[in-house]
Symmetry: C2
Subunit: 431 residues, 2 copies
């Protein structure tokens, strides 16, 4: 089938899907969990085929690990679906109510976005997490996973389609794309698709943004900072810096540049170097850093670099204000941390640093949908519109204004015959 | 000054502006109101110069009327500023709080978007409304008004700059652009500008979207519908249709296509025709309409047309479902109305019609920030992300996640030494 036709089908399905009640969508989620359980053997067989082909193609070990979808991982995603079922129905919630006049009531009510296109990496669990988040929030979804997971994603999609059909979810709400040509065609379907979520490298996200008129909500660079203020607890600082840098180096919420107040540097840096040496982290520092510890030379280019590796850039700064300025200049607006024992310094930092996550005395690595308690995430947004930071169900919602009247015309308000009351109300929308 | 430098200045001002408290921004608003009052004579003189030049250039009467900025209009905008001062401080509001673990508390807190570029029509009152909404919400703003209002906007900008400087608002937060070249240059400044709001025709908004990497929140077409269900109160229907079509024909929330259930058509259309003839509205109808009343021929092209004129397209539909399908196919997702005496029909319509405004038994013309009680609006969005429908202060906000810890590292949660509690909280962020 041509992509345009598939986009139209997804859009057509999104209309009745938006009108399903929470119980029906939960029944669909339950049917998916059941289908995954029943099809476990076939899913593992498909995944084995993907693994064998990818091994033959010399895919690296970390990627092979992400591609693996065994009984344990299947159980994990089934568990995740049961958690999602427990969450409140996100649709039809009244976010604001105002009596415009007697018998003329306005309600702002949550609704799905519509049709979402997701382009993601090779983890088959992502296929399940994204599609179930979309179902819970009433959105149609077109998914394009990594080429390596072709067979696995194919059977996962069929399992989900079969399961949700029996539960009364409109057919066509979920579709699996398999080729780059499909993706290119999808990016042109702005009449049918409301949002594209690309997950991958910064360059990839930029490419998608530059090649589509559809709004894009993407990860971009995560150039995250820790700033050590002059009054920080230095023992705690070493632990947090090591955790932020090494707990998982390939993540977007990993520390890339450490800023140290000049009053803390002489004491902190030797302690820190010992701890980072233990973890085999290469240190790049400015001249002031290299006066205190041995390190490679850091240049301006380093402040702009997301290493995603066991490398840490360190700069000594004269003040809190200089740290904030560095972060707002070179950062990517992802997650930035201040280590300090005074609330005033933390408050200044958290107010002036223009990032999705501003943390005080804890690791950058907490910036994550699961750790934030969102159940799951579709990604972490560094954009400032719609959704910022880890994006869970909330980021998959729009809203509409429902106005319930009794024959009111604007002419009467313009002429002064009628008057607006504009009374805020706590009432939920009755229909 | 070059636009890039001006963008950088606006961005630099946006950081301390985001940290001002509500009282300071209200003091800025009060100073603007005072400055407008004191400069009334000079503002009127500047506006007279704009009017004289525009008359010499044969600007049409409706546009001249919009360009006029006399003592009455100045008093109106001053009144509007006082209303805006009364509104709650929109910044620093805690929208969500979760205890991730004991001593590790997450808060979702409202903050400004940053720097907003607005391109708008020739109404000088829009200059004041937009800039004061931006100040109240802590955003820097670059404004490009209509060429016709050049002298007026220049003195308005200077008045606002002088007033807010004395009130402690960071200099550079507001800047007035005067040329198309400035606009072109602004559209390229994605490193400094977070959002572009174009106000104008659909083609103009599309042009802006196609020529900038900055997110755009724009008006687009308003192809608004009224659907008359078989059980509608027909007397009420005539009033609402006439109001929706004629109360102000050039607005985006004006009725363009009327859909009539075939069971209501024979009775409604003759009554309606008499009322529309009174208002000199041209009627275009499909064949079924023309079997009942005399009308010009409507084609498929009419269902896609925003007339912004005394013209109404009418189509007879066999069912509620057909009406919904027509609106979701040809509509622009702006505002659509059902006239019906049964709640079930209204509920179906309001759930399945995918528009920013879905109204029951009232005029399309209520779709407006002032009428919705938002105080003012920066525009009406037909997009489904970030802000939908009339956009007031809320649409000028982003949020950040503040996480307050005591040395927590992710390693301890990954190893099972520590456990997330994920307890929802009602607490406001303490810093």
């Amino acid at each position: 089938m041509q992509m345009e036709e598939r986009g139209r089908i997804a859009r057509d399905a999104s209309i009745p899907l938006a009108a399903t009640d929470g119980e029906t969508r939960n029944a669909g989620l339950l049917a998916i969990a059941k289908g995954l359980k029943e099809n476990t053997a076939a899913i593992i067989a498909a995944n084995n085929a993907d693994m064998a082909r990818s091994q033959a193609e010399n895919l690296g070990a970390p990627l092979l690990k992400r591609l693996t979808f065994d009984a344990d991982k299947i159980n994990d995603v089934i568990q995740g679906i049961h958690s999602l079922i427990e969450l409140d129905n996100p649709l039809g919630a009244t976010k604001m109510a105002t009596q415009l006049d007697e018998g003329l009531d306005l309600y702002k009510v949550t609704c799905p976005i519509g049709v979402i296109g997701v382009i993601f990496e090779s983890r088959p669990d992502a296929f399940i997490q994204i599609s179930t988040l979309c179902l819970k929030s009433g959105n149609s979804v077109l998914l394009k996973g990594g080429r390596e997971a072709l067979e696995t994603n194919r059977i996962l999609c069929k399992t989900i389609q079969d399961a949700t059909r029996t539960a009364g979810i409109p057919e066509g709400w979920i579709q699996n794309l398999e080729t780059r040509e499909d993706v290119t065609a999808m990016l042109a379907l702005d009449q049918y698709i409301d949002l594209i979520i690309p997950r991958g490298s910064n360059d990839f996200v930029k490419y998608i943004m530059n090649n589509s008129n559809i709004p894009v909500m993407g990860h971009a660079d995560g150039i995250c900072h820790v700033y050590v203020h002059e009054d920080a607890d230095l023992k705690q600082a070493v632990d947090i810096i090591v955790d932020s840098k090494t707990q998982y180096v390939a993540a977007c919420n990993t520390l890339e540049t450490l800023l140290v107040n000049e009053q803390a540097a002489a004491t902190l840096l030797p302690l820190l170097k010992a701890a980072l040496d233990n973890k085999e982290v290469r240190i790049k520092g400015d001249a002031a850093v290299r006066n205190i510890i041995s390190a490679e030379t850091a240049t301006d280019e380093d402040w702009k670099t997301e290493y995603l590796d066991y490398i840490l850039a360190i700069r000594i700064v004269p003040s809190l204000a200089a740290a904030i300025d560095h972060i707002n200049t070179y950062g990517s607006g992802h997650t930035d941390v201040i280590l300090s024992t005074t609330e005033a310094a933390a408050k200044t930092f958290m107010t002036l640093v223009d990032s999705a996550g501003v943390f005080w005395n804890c690791s950058t690595r907490f910036s994550d949908g699961f750790r934030f308690g969102f159940g799951a995430e579709v990604g972490i947004s560094t954009a400032k519109l719609h959704a910022r930071g880890p994006v869970g169900l909330d980021g998959l919602l729009s809203y509409k204004y429902k106005l319930l009247g009794h024959g009111q015309c604007v002419t009467d308000y313009a002429s002064g015959k009628s008057h607006f009351t504009h009374l805020p109300s706590e009432e939920d929308c009755p229909i």
